[in-house]
């Protein structure tokens, strides 16, 4: 393939000029006969492309025709989309209903006023025999000591199978009844100074 370059920038003549409507006039690959310029006009264009070499190509552009889906394939795809969205909606209803049940169970344990705070903050204050804790609905547990807070990671096995509040209830019961066991299981994710004020949390 030839490696010609544009040689001259012109408007309507072969002389170098710059104007708002200038066009490439002369193709220069050291062979002045390689081109035929457009006729003089306000907006010149190439009319004939010639080369002494092989025919010129714009690299290797390959045109392929994308096969259009058949009507049946389109229908299948629509049905699949519809079905997936239906399944997702159904799962969400199940999850919401499971979480509501978990909150009803928590209501039995902490009462209506505290449940309102829990719903607002997603945090439950739990008193152990040794330390206090904040169990967070997202899955974290914070151990509160006199001068520091420690992030612990401890939760129900296969946590994702349960609504978040079931995890909170389970940790609350386990901490209150078997704090040492919970502390032994928990992984310590680091401590920091106790802030002046603890975040709002439901308690009992």
């Amino acid at each position: 393939m030839a490696t010609s370059t544009w040689g001259t920038w012109t408007s309507t003549t072969s002389s170098t000029a710059i104007s708002a409507t200038s066009m490439w006039y002369s193709w220069n690959d050291a062979n002045a006969t390689d081109y035929t310029a457009a006729t003089s006009a306000t907006c010149d264009t190439w009319t004939v492309w010639t080369s002494n070499d092989e025919p010129m190509y714009i690299n290797d552009v390959v045109w392929t025709e994308i096969e259009k889906p058949t009507h049946q394939e389109r229908m299948q795809s629509e049905i699949l989309k519809e079905w997936s969205s239906h399944i997702r909606a159904e799962k969400k209803v199940e999850k919401d209903s499971a979480e509501k049940k978990a909150k009803d169970l928590l209501l039995d344990l902490i009462g209506e006023d505290e449940l309102k705070i829990y719903e607002k903050t997603g945090r439950l204050f739990v008193k152990g025999k040794k330390f206090d804790y904040i169990v967070i609905n997202g899955g974290k547990v914070q151990k509160i000591e006199k001068d520091k807070i420690t992030d612990l990671c401890v939760h129900l096995a296969e946590r994702s199978k349960y609504p978040p509040t079931d995890n909170v209830i389970s940790l609350k019961l386990a901490i209150e009844a078997e704090e040492d066991k919970v502390l032994k299981l928990a992984n310590n994710h680091g401590s920091r100074d106790l802030p002046e004020e603890l975040p709002l949390a439901a308690c009992m």
Partner: protein, 91 residues
């Protein structure tokens, strides 16, 4: 009447005694039984044992936290309100 709330996943359905299968639902499953009813009590004892075998722990609780939560080591039909929770792990 005694009451057991079981925090369990779908697997619970398989181990629920036929008598209480209809109680199963996503989230916790609540089973209420009459300690005076021998058939119900026997079914609950079987369920309790199979849950403990699977790593569940039972806690006796009272409403609005008025009673101390205690871990239950043995099934007693007169326990009142129980919550069974699955295994807890460190993350």
């Amino acid at each position: 009447m005694s009451e057991m709330s079981i925090i369990a996943s779908i697997d619970l359905y398989d181990i629920l005694p036929p008598l209480f299968k209809s109680n199963f639902s996503e989230g916790d499953t609540k089973v209420i039984w009459d300690p005076e009813n021998a058939e119900e009590t026997e079914a609950m004892e079987e369920l309790y044992d199979s849950l403990v075998e699977r790593g569940f722990t039972a806690y006796k609780v009272g409403k609005a936290g008025k009673q101390t939560k205690v871990q239950v080591k043995e099934f007693d039909p007169e326990l009142g309100k129980l919550i069974m929770i699955p295994k807890i792990v460190g993350g």
